[in-house]
């Protein structure tokens, strides 16, 4: 590829859920070795974007290129080869509930490598130590709190030392201490191992502190992008509203709906009432 510097490149990416347009021509470049943050109001499609990059959803139009390969034109076996080099931290952890913490982290190692159990043991403990849960190795996922589960999932995502990791809201449910540790861990992993990181997060302070570049999504488009300082200084109303958390501005707080007054006067019951 000409742009060897860019690991993930989306061009004119469009995606619909039924009739609802989630993305409408999104162009994103993610540089190798950088930490890129994707921010935007809840429900704009940040998780959807990660799934498009991972090849779990197919765009209606446009392309996603990861490491020079067009994700949606690969055959299944090629896609799986590519995914071995991608780590993904799911919003809710998505640990395998029939395995304990240790086996969850060991899972990708056992599936993809021929390492001895002895070596796997060392690797798993190293990853668990990094997220502060070495002592929790014998717990089952049902015995973990949400924040702990997400940290185990992080240990699992880095088990294979991938070339890139996508973090879907890694900071939710973390106390200030583990939050600080996680922020430093993500930066450290990125710099020490030469990873490329994509972070979806709502936490403005911590995201600005570690991200090299930030994309702000709203209404199916990239509405602002740049480094943290650039965004703070930018004249974009979108960026200003989002960074300051103001209710009024171009970014809608509400899910698309008909007029409020009409809706109240109309008095049609919602679907949930008739079903439950």
């Amino acid at each position: 590829m000409a742009d060897n510097n860019i690991l993930v490149k989306t061009r004119d990416l469009s995606f619909k859920r039924g009739d609802r347009v989630i993305f409408d021509g999104v162009d994103i470049d993610i540089r190798r070795g950088s930490v890129t943050a994707i921010m935007g109001p809840s429900g704009t499609g940040k998780t959807t974007l990660l799934r498009l990059i991972g090849g779990q959803l197919k765009p209606d139009k446009g392309s996603v290129i990861v490491d020079g390969e067009n994700v949606h034109e690969l055959r299944r076996s090629q896609l799986y080869q590519l995914r071995k080099r991608m780590g993904m931290l799911f919003q809710n952890g998505a640990l395998l509930t029939d395995l304990n913490v240790y086996d969850n982290v060991a899972f990708p190692l056992r599936e993809h490598t021929n390492l001895s159990e002895n070596l796997i043991h060392k690797l798993v403990l190293m990853k668990l130590e990094a997220v502060g849960l070495r002592g929790a190795r014998n717990l089952m996922p049902s015995e973990l709190s949400g924040g702990m589960a997400r940290r185990v999932a992080l240990a699992r995502a880095i088990a294979l030392d991938p070339m890139m990791i996508m973090y879907d809201e890694p900071f939710t449910g973390q106390d200030p201490i583990s939050m600080g540790v996680l922020v430093r861990l993500i930066r450290l992993l990125n710099d020490a191992l030469g990873l490329t990181s994509i972070i979806v997060s709502h936490d403005i302070q911590d995201t600005l502190s570690i991200a090299d570049e930030i994309y702000l999504l709203a209404g199916g488009k990239v509405v602002a992008k740049g480094s943290g300082d650039e965004l703070k200084q930018s004249s974009s109303e979108w960026a200003q509203q989002f960074l300051k958390g103001q209710p009024d501005g171009p970014v809608p707080f509400h899910f698309p709906a008909e007029d409020y007054a009409d809706d109240l006067l109309d008095g049609k019951p919602g679907r949930a009432q008739t079903r439950m």
């Binding site: 779990q56 995914r83 071995k84 780590g87 993904m88 799911f90 509930t97 999932a153």
Partner: protein, 260 residues
């Protein structure tokens, strides 16, 4: 005016769409069987959980079905002085029909529903997505071992059902209503044919095992990922499996024993 026709068309389309997806899944499971060689432990564990854990209900039901068969059969046969043929009646009913069919129905209720709920919940909690993103195909890791387990467990369960049923029949025939023991066993031995009866019964139970496990796995992986969706999928597994078993039983019986 057009609405009913439109709806019929829609549900027809949905049906064939689902059938298509089910067939694709089936093909992918078969295509992934070779990946089970290094995962033999998983197959053994799944065989334990669909097979061994269904044993109790199979043994108890088999025993009672055999006992009831002997009682009912005796009441009819005794009128013709043919009560010594009770062994034949019990054995043939079990081996040809009741063994494969009833044990498959029980298997669908006990193991099929559990498979659907398990896979459906794995989908709802994104465990299947997480595996895909870890470059591990859930069809190979989750579904193929369960399919193979069902394939091997079902005929064994049906055989155990028939064997226990024959024993139950023996207890009632010889112990309760007083049929001659020697006649009971020797008539049974003479009348039951290895090829015509036993093999055909085994073929039936293999077919039922494949179909029930396939339905259960497909419904789980196709479930809407919510609690309601999983509960509906579980119900569908039991209902569709039962219909498929009974329908296929008729077809297979007509092919094997019918004069068509």
């Amino acid at each position: 005016m057009l609405d009913p026709i439109q709806n019929l068309g829609k549900s027809g389309l949905r049906f064939f769409e689902r059938l298509g997806r089910a067939c694709i899944l089936f093909a992918r499971i078969l295509g992934g069987l070779h990946t089970l060689i290094p995962r033999l432990g998983l197959v053994i564990y799944q065989t334990y959980s669909v097979g061994v854990l269904s044993l109790l209900i199979i043994v108890v039901s088999g025993l009672f079905v055999g006992m009831v068969l002997a009682l009912q059969g005796y009441n009819t046969l005794v009128d013709f002085g043919a009560e010594e043929s009770l062994g034949i009646l019990v054995a043939l009913s079990l081996v040809r029909e009741l063994g494969p069919v009833v044990s498959a129905l029980l298997f669908a209720g006990r193991a099929g529903s559990a498979l659907t709920a398990e896979i459906g919940l794995m989908k709802a909690t994104e465990q299947l997505s997480a595996m895909e993103m870890m470059a591990i195909d859930p069809v190979h890791r989750v579904m193929a071992p369960r399919f193979v387990a069902g394939f091997f467990a079902m005929p064994l369960l049906a055989a155990i059902f028939s064997a226990v049923g024959v024993l139950g029949g023996y207890f009632v025939a010889v112990g309760v209503v007083g049929v001659d023991e020697g006649a009971f066993w020797s008539q049974m031995q003479d009348a039951v044919d290895l090829r015509d009866d036993i093999y055909n019964g085994v073929i039936k139970s293999v077919v039922f095992g494949v179909v029930v496990t396939w339905i259960a796995i497909f419904e789980g992986s196709d479930a809407i990922p919510t609690s309601e969706g999983v509960s509906r999928a579980t119900t569908r597994t039991v209902v569709h499996s039962a219909l498929a078993i009974l329908g296929l039983d008729f077809v297979l019986t007509a092919l094997m024993f019918g004069e068509i």
